[in-house]
C-alpha cells in the first residue's frame, strides 16, 4: 500500500516534469525565432526561374553582342561599343596614307584627356590600344581584344570588379530584370580615358519628411 502510494507520487512528479519540459520546449525562443527566416525558404529554391516566361518583356533596342564569358553557367549579352566611337574605324586615318599639315589639328586626339591610374603609374595610350592594329585593343599578354569586349581588357587590372560584374553585383542590366540577360558594358558608364565619375551637383534635393 505504502509502496504503491510512493510509486504514484513518483509517476505524478515524473509526468509533471515532462509536461513542464514540453512546455519549455514549445515556448517561442527568441534565438530560434530570428534563425527561421523567409530567407531559408528562398535558399531552398534551386530551380532556376524561367525568365522568358514573363511575356511582356521586349527585346532590348540597343545594339548588343554575345559576351565571351559565362554568367552562372549560361550566356548573356552586353551592349556593343563600336557604334558609339565617333571616328571608328581608326584605320581609316591610321594607315599608310599621307596627311596634310592643315588637317593635323582635326585629326589628332586633342580632346582626349587621360586620367586613368594613380600618379606615377598613370596609363598611356598603348597600355590599352594595340600599337599597330589601331582597330583593336591589346592586353598585357599581347592578345588582340575587340572594342565590343573591353571587359576582357579592363578585367586584367580590375579583376574584382569584373568578377562582380559577371555575377551582377557591379554594373547593371538594361531595362529588364526578366528576359534574356543584357548588361551594360564597362564603357557604357565609365569613360575609359578618365573612368572616375566627375564631381557634380545632385539632380535634386530633399525636403524634411511630413
Amino acid at each position: 500500500m505504502k509502496n504503491s502510494r510512493f510509486l504514484h507520487l513518483i509517476t505524478m512528479q515524473l509526468s509533471g516534469s515532462i509536461l513542464l519540459l514540453v512546455c519549455i520546449l514549445m515556448l517561442p525562443h527568441p534565438g530560434v525565432a530570428s534563425e527561421t527566416s523567409f530567407l531559408d525558404t528562398i535558399k531552398e529554391v534551386d530551380e532556376p526561374f524561367d525568365n522568358r516566361s514573363v511575356s511582356q518583356v521586349q527585346p532590348v533596342v540597343q545594339l548588343t553582342v554575345l559576351a565571351k564569358e559565362k554568367y552562372q553557367g549560361g550566356t548573356f549579352r552586353v551592349l556593343a561599343r563600336k557604334q558609339d566611337i565617333e571616328r571608328y574605324k581608326c584605320s581609316s586615318c591610321h594607315n599608310a596614307k599621307e596627311v596634310l599639315g592643315k588637317n593635323a589639328f582635326e585629326l589628332t586626339h586633342g580632346n582626349v584627356v587621360i586620367n586613368h591610374g594613380q600618379e606615377g603609374t598613370a596609363l598611356g595610350c598603348i597600355d590599352c590600344h594595340h600599337p599597330e592594329d589601331l582597330d583593336s585593343l591589346e592586353d598585357k599578354k599581347g592578345r588582340k581584344i575587340d572594342f565590343d569586349h573591353s571587359y576582357q581588357l579592363c578585367g586584367q587590372c580590375h579583376f574584382r570588379q569584373k568578377r562582380d560584374w559577371l555575377g551582377g553585383a557591379h554594373g547593371k542590366r538594361v531595362s529588364y530584370w526578366a528576359g534574356d540577360r543584357v548588361v551594360y558594358n564597362c564603357t557604357t558608364c565609365h569613360d575609359p580615358h578618365a573612368p572616375k565619375f566627375a564631381k557634380r551637383f545632385p539632380a535634386t534635393y530633399s525636403v524634411p519628411l511630413n
Binding site: D164, R173, W177
Partner: protein, 322 residues
C-alpha cells in the same frame, strides 16, 4: 428619353471640358440627380439633358461602391481600371493606361543597395518622382539619400538634405525607401485592410480603401510611407500615362502612398525607375526565387546587412559593400 449614344458622348465630353469636379460638387450633384442616376443604373440609358453629368455620376457611383481590390475578381479589376481611365478622360482629359497586372508566379522581388558605389547624385529620386507621378507641390519623394560619416550605418545620423557637389571625400551615401518587409508592421496597423503584402512580396496600398488615419506611417520603423495632405499636383505633360491600380495612379487628398517597386513596371519584367536611372549601378533588383538572379548573387557573395534587422520585420532590401 433619348438613347442616342453619340449625342450622349458628345455631351459628356463638352461638359467635361467646361466643368471641374470635386467631392463637394459630386455630393451636391448626387442629391439633385439621384433619381437620374438610379434610372441610369437600372436602364443603362440616361435622360438627354442630364446625360453628361449622369454619365460621370454613374461611373463615380460605381467606383464608390466597389470592393477592396483584394476581393475583386480579375473581371472586376478590369472594370474598375476601365472606369478610372474613363473618369480621367472625362474629368481631366487625360489618356491613361491603367493596368491591373497580377503578380507573376514564382517571383519574389528583392532589392540590394551598394553603399560603396553610391555617390549621391540622386538621379534615382528624380526618376522616381517622374515615374510615380509624385506630388510636385509638396515635393514628395519615396527615396531619400543620406550623406553618411564613415563607420556609421544608421541613416538618422546622416545628412538627408545635402545640396552640394558630390561625392564628398570620406563620406558615403545610403539610400532608403520602402523595404517591402515580409513581416510588414504597417499592414498589421491598418484598420481598413487597405494595405497588404502581395504574393510577389510588394507591399501595396488600395488608395480607394485608405481612410488616411496614418497608423501605418506610425507603425513603419523605416519612415517608408508618405501622406497626401492635399490633392497631388503633377503638370499634365509630365504625367506618366502607363499606370497600375496599386501603383502610380492618382492619389487623392488624405491617402497614404509609398514605394511599390514601380509595380507598373516590374510586373511587366522591367526594372524599377530608380534602378534604371542609377548612374553608378549601385542598385540591384531581381527575383529572389531565381537562384541565377543578380540579387541572389549579391546575397550569396557579398557582405550584406539590413536595416534594423533585430525588429524581425524581414525587409527585402539589403545593403552591401564591394
Amino acid at each position: 428619353m433619348s438613347c442616342n449614344k453619340t449625342d450622349q458622348e458628345k455631351n459628356i465630353l463638352e461638359d467635361a471640358q467646361s466643368e471641374t469636379s470635386s467631392r463637394r460638387t459630386f455630393l451636391k450633384g448626387m442629391s439633385i440627380g439621384a433619381a437620374a442616376a438610379s434610372a441610369a443604373l437600372v436602364t443603362g440609358c440616361v435622360p438627354g439633358a442630364d446625360a453628361a453629368a449622369s454619365g460621370e455620376l454613374k461611373l463615380r457611383w460605381q467606383e464608390f461602391f466597389k470592393k477592396n481590390y483584394r476581393l475583386m475578381t480579375q473581371e472586376e479589376k478590369d472594370q474598375t481600371v476601365a472606369r478610372l481611365e474613363r473618369l480621367a478622360a472625362l474629368k481631366n482629359n487625360q489618356e491613361l493606361q491603367i493596368g491591373s497586372e497580377p503578380p507573376i508566379p514564382g517571383v519574389l522581388y528583392g532589392y540590394a543597395f551598394n553603399i560603396t558605389r553610391c555617390e549621391g547624385f540622386m538621379e534615382c529620386v528624380t526618376a522616381c518622382v517622374k515615374e510615380n507621378n509624385l506630388d510636385r507641390k509638396t515635393n514628395t519623394q519615396y527615396i531619400r539619400i543620406f550623406e553618411m560619416e564613415p563607420g556609421k550605418l544608421d541613416p538618422s545620423t546622416g545628412d538627408g538634405q545635402y545640396y552640394h557637389e558630390v561625392p564628398v571625400e570620406n563620406k558615403f551615401y545610403m539610400g532608403t525607401q520602402c523595404f517591402h518587409c515580409e513581416n510588414a508592421p504597417c499592414t498589421k496597423a491598418c484598420p481598413t485592410r487597405a494595405t497588404w503584402r502581395e504574393p510577389d512580396g510588394i507591399v501595396v496600398v488600395d488608395y480607394d480603401w485608405c481612410i488616411g488615419c496614418r497608423y501605418c506611417q506610425a507603425a513603419c520603423p523605416y519612415y517608408g510611407r508618405r501622406f497626401n495632405w492635399g490633392d497631388s499636383e503633377v503638370p499634365k505633360e509630365e504625367i506618366t500615362q502607363k499606370q497600375h491600380y496599386l501603383g502610380n495612379r492618382k492619389r487623392p487628398m488624405g491617402k497614404m502612398e509609398k514605394c511599390t517597386f514601380c509595380i507598373q513596371r516590374t510586373r511587366k519584367g522591367k526594372l524599377p525607375a530608380c534602378v534604371e536611372a542609377c548612374p553608378t549601378g549601385s542598385r540591384v533588383f531581381g527575383n529572389l526565387l531565381d537562384p541565377d538572379s543578380e540579387i541572389r548573387y549579391v546575397l550569396k557573395h557579398k557582405k550584406v546587412f539590413r536595416m534594423k534587422e533585430e525588429l524581425g520585420t524581414e525587409p527585402k532590401f539589403w545593403y552591401f559593400i564591394d
